[in-house]
Symmetry: D2
């Protein structure tokens, strides 16, 4: 089934490759010619003109957007006037599901269908397949099934879940029609919120292991600081790369994120290439907002989010306030170093 791809970054280009391997002819568009050229050499029809792109697609056209969430509206403003009733736009990026709802309503005016696809898999997706969380009209999603089936990992990539008895369900292939428009990105949003929590769990735990030698460090003690009471219990020098590796097999905490952690630690246990300013790309925030709107407790997911904010220095003023209060009531000068 022919598919048109707009946005040839890491994700978009790899998805085109996977689609072509699966036998789907691809028409690709990008503002910059390089990425287009690379895919053309691998069999795609490529163009740097949006008009040309649309013209080369057979009707009803299926156009997949794989662009930053912030430029989707801009791309749609250029693209939609070139489309016709019955065409389909798929947003495979990280859009906020509320934007999906608005955009679907706008495109409906022109008879154009809108499908939102939350896509997980990252740079490994080309080989590993992409997990797809899909929102949109039932028959349109069904029509696109061959595309989703090719992008998804396939049932063989994990053992079957015991007790399941839905043999035809696509979830086992790695893609799922979650509900009406927006449902795909809603599920992907929470997926990423969970991801933040998982990442933080590993990071905190490994940090505790790393400091299992804390009893060896002298800690200042004065009226302001209590010394460690039992330094004899914190004398271990633990090998973090080996620990991450050993957990990968047989343990309850085995996961793909752990695999990646082991790979990062195998490369450099000290992680000297990183300063520790952790980005967040929106979904973690939106997940927390959804929890609050729904009245659902999310202390772990929100703590993981706030750790990222703090990693970027955004707690600094609050911390200065704490030191200022301590000075007010106790006359304590802030300590410049040490713990």
């Amino acid at each position: 089934m022919q598919i048109g791809m707009i946005g040839l970054g890491r994700m978009g280009s790899n998805m085109v490759r996977r689609l072509m391997r699966g036998g789907h002819p691809c028409v690709v568009y990008n503002r910059h010619g390089e990425a287009v050229e690379a895919l053309r050499s691998q069999g795609a029809v490529g163009t740097v003109s949006l008009e040309d792109f649309v013209a080369r697609l057979t009707k009803p056209r299926a156009v997949w957007l794989m662009v930053p969430a912030t430029v989707v509206d801009e791309v749609l403003a250029q693209l939609v006037p070139l489309l016709e009733a019955g065409d389909i736009v798929i947003d495979g990026g990280n859009s906020y599901y509320r934007d999906d709802m608005r955009r679907a309503a706008e495109l409906q005016q022109a008879g154009v269908h809108y499908v939102d696809v939350g896509t997980s898999g990252g740079v490994a997706g080309l080989e590993r397949g992409y997990c797809l969380m899909i929102g949109g009209e039932k028959d349109i999603v069904r029509y696109l099934d061959p595309v989703f089936a090719t992008l998804a990992p396939g049932v063989g990539t994990a053992p079957r879940t015991p007790g399941r008895h839905k043999p035809d369900a696509s979830a086992e292939q790695g893609y799922l029609h979650c509900g009406p428009v927006g449902a795909g990105h809603f599920v992907k949003m929470v997926h990423n919120g969970i991801e933040y929590g998982l990442m933080a769990a590993y990071a905190e735990g490994l940090n505790i292991l790393r400091n299992a030698n804390a009893g060896k460090r002298s800690r200042d003690s004065d009226a302001e600081t209590a010394p460690m009471r039992n330094p004899e219990y914190y004398q271990y020098e633990l090998d973090l790369p080996e620990i991450a590796e050993v957990w990968r097999r047989g343990s309850v905490v085995a996961s793909w994120l752990l695999d990646l952690t082991a790979a990062a630690l195998a490369e450099d246990a000290e992680l000297t290439g990183f300063s520790g300013r952790v980005s967040d790309s929106g979904e973690g925030r939106w997940t927390a907002l959804a929890a609050i709107d729904e009245g659902v407790p999310a202390p772990v997911l929100s703590a993981a989010l706030f750790e990222r904010f703090a990693s970027r220095g955004d707690a600094d003023y609050a911390n200065r306030l704490l030191s200022a209060m301590r000075k007010q009531f106790g006359g304590h000068d802030e300590k410049k170093e040490g713990r």
Copy 2:
């Protein structure tokens, strides 16, 4: 290599089976004859007399304890007098690493070696193998290597980590000598602390998905309660079993815990068999204590722990206090139902 096993619960019995499959003769002891009988029929030498058990082991004896952490001292009190210098005791249960340190020092008086092994794998371990985190003397741990290698999953159970260049390291087999006595249980303790965080991340996220229909519910609104501002954004009825399943392939949140979650949801999406009183078995608490002792932030791991406490009603008095304060300053009567 012959091994003696004390404690034939789910874990101990399965480990004996895995060891025997691997060619290690096993002598087993349990107070209750049934479990002994079951293993005897599968090839183990079994006994309900501790003296007999010790007598049947060749020297130096290797005795593996797989008993609740709370009875280890009691078992040692009976066992150690029967042992001789050079014998080895392995505690494969969930002991606190500080107890390991104390016990190792005590056994050393009698010339008996002590090895602590944090064991992860649960009921699936018989087939999947056990992840083993080991603490103790270097040569003793090396001596026991064949036992560990058989219990562990083996390198083939996960893809190799890119960038690793320690071909002989046991971590890839699924077992690791972490350090001196206590180090095994220390690493296992933090492993379980991480497990709490991972579990909470999934649980919170799925709860948010489950409430994606919150806009359909009427919410009381009065001077005390703000209504939902945007009910149109919370109209989704999501299929949790299918979502857990779809994440199992290709997604960033894929993990063994997710596999288990999918299995639990496939069985009963409403989880009606559970009331939501979540137990904790010690390691999560000890991990939080270690973080505090070390001065390492663990907001996610501790939030996961406190959720469990609260699930058992241990926040009730604090909550009544909050309602009492609200009544004091605002005259608000506590609402009996609704959100």
Copy 3:
């Protein structure tokens, strides 16, 4: 200065009383005649007709709304058509500041000024005075100064802050023009967010004190539950009402909320009249949303919010999931009682 009051609940009626004591003539309106009658007997001009209410106000009219946030729009829809250019509407309730911004723009069409006032003080405000956080146009806010000054507590109700050198500033009286429209309710929103955090700090701490006797309780111990390691350290029976009382004088944690806590505990240390379902009225949620939007860490304020959600049972499904996962990997049946 004449003021018209709409909404004669606890808050509105008491504010009218305080204004009349301060010499401001008040015209009051309520749908139900009882509250009107009560204030009429104390000197107010009262009416159950909105037309009559507006007619009795001298121009430019100053109308103070003290109604639930959810009915403000409804009231404005009836009221504004009766007003004239130059009149002033003051929303003294708990509106979301984003609604203020929208309403101010709407009223501006009719030449009507809009002022938002976050009001703190609760049922004690009649005697103690109200803390007022004000947003709106500079000259309109200045025009209303006599009203604010009367409602506010006055400088004498707290010792002067050392180091301040803004003798004319109203903040020392207990009211403040915070900024343009919405700023008053924005500051009040965060004020309440802080309030949630403060309340939770006391509630958690007192719960820890209440359980200082935990070592006296037997705790089940089995493979699943670690026993308390040091019961000898948790043998205290502490008198919570007396502790709350002693902290009221000289301690770092003295506060008005503590005064209220002491009063609640003096009444009933067991708080048997409360079930522990803690309401939240919006501002705590909005504060957390603001933190997330701004990218500012708020782990304490959000934890306090989520505790309230959990107190109402909204973590139950997440907790059942945790128990279900435990059963999957460890075969653990959920425990029905005990800790």
Copy 4:
């Protein structure tokens, strides 16, 4: 009643002054002569010899220690051999209550009584009085009553709690016999744990207010970073010193800590003299440990504690791990600046 004071830092010296004002003769000891001299000039009997100090005390001697928790054992080792059966040692510092229990048992061997007093009030205590939380034997504590009554603030320093009917209780004076030895420091420990939570609530809230102008800052947006969706809602420039001041009168969040915050902000709204490395002196950690031991949820108090750890850089490795994971799955390079 004569009292001997060891430790003439800020706290100890001021307590001596308050005792002397109250008519209690004081004998003071310090290793360094300066502090001794200062108090001698104000009427104390002073000495730099411990033997001399003990000799000048009338029997039964009452010796108050006001020294860092870490040197208490050292001081006791020198002091106790000089004492006689019936003498009393009072530890007024920040000792861990478990040390109290051990020390009381040790001193009992020599017939010396041990009283633990958690003391709150800080540098303001001289004028404001000290809040005293006391543990020890009933008759010994009663014997020391005149000393406690003088140090405490007195009933007049706060309005009476409505509903109380314990006219003779000392809690209203600001001191309380909480229970057997250790109970005083246990209550003080939790008091400080609460203090951490209160401080964090104010600090987080004020940080949110400070960033109410976040919509004015441009935020990078790319595939990795979502832009702020509603910058129009974050355009306020709020005056933090004035806001802290206005809350001091009539509001629900009024407290002594807020008074201090207002003073700090009046001095320097930017708090440029502080870097934001927040110390913790032990009690906050011990409170969290107690919550965990007791199985009582303390998400707010522990979040406040962990914020302090993070303020000192102790989350850095965990944060680098998060960035490393993001690079692994998404190919994202860590951003060096911006949000």
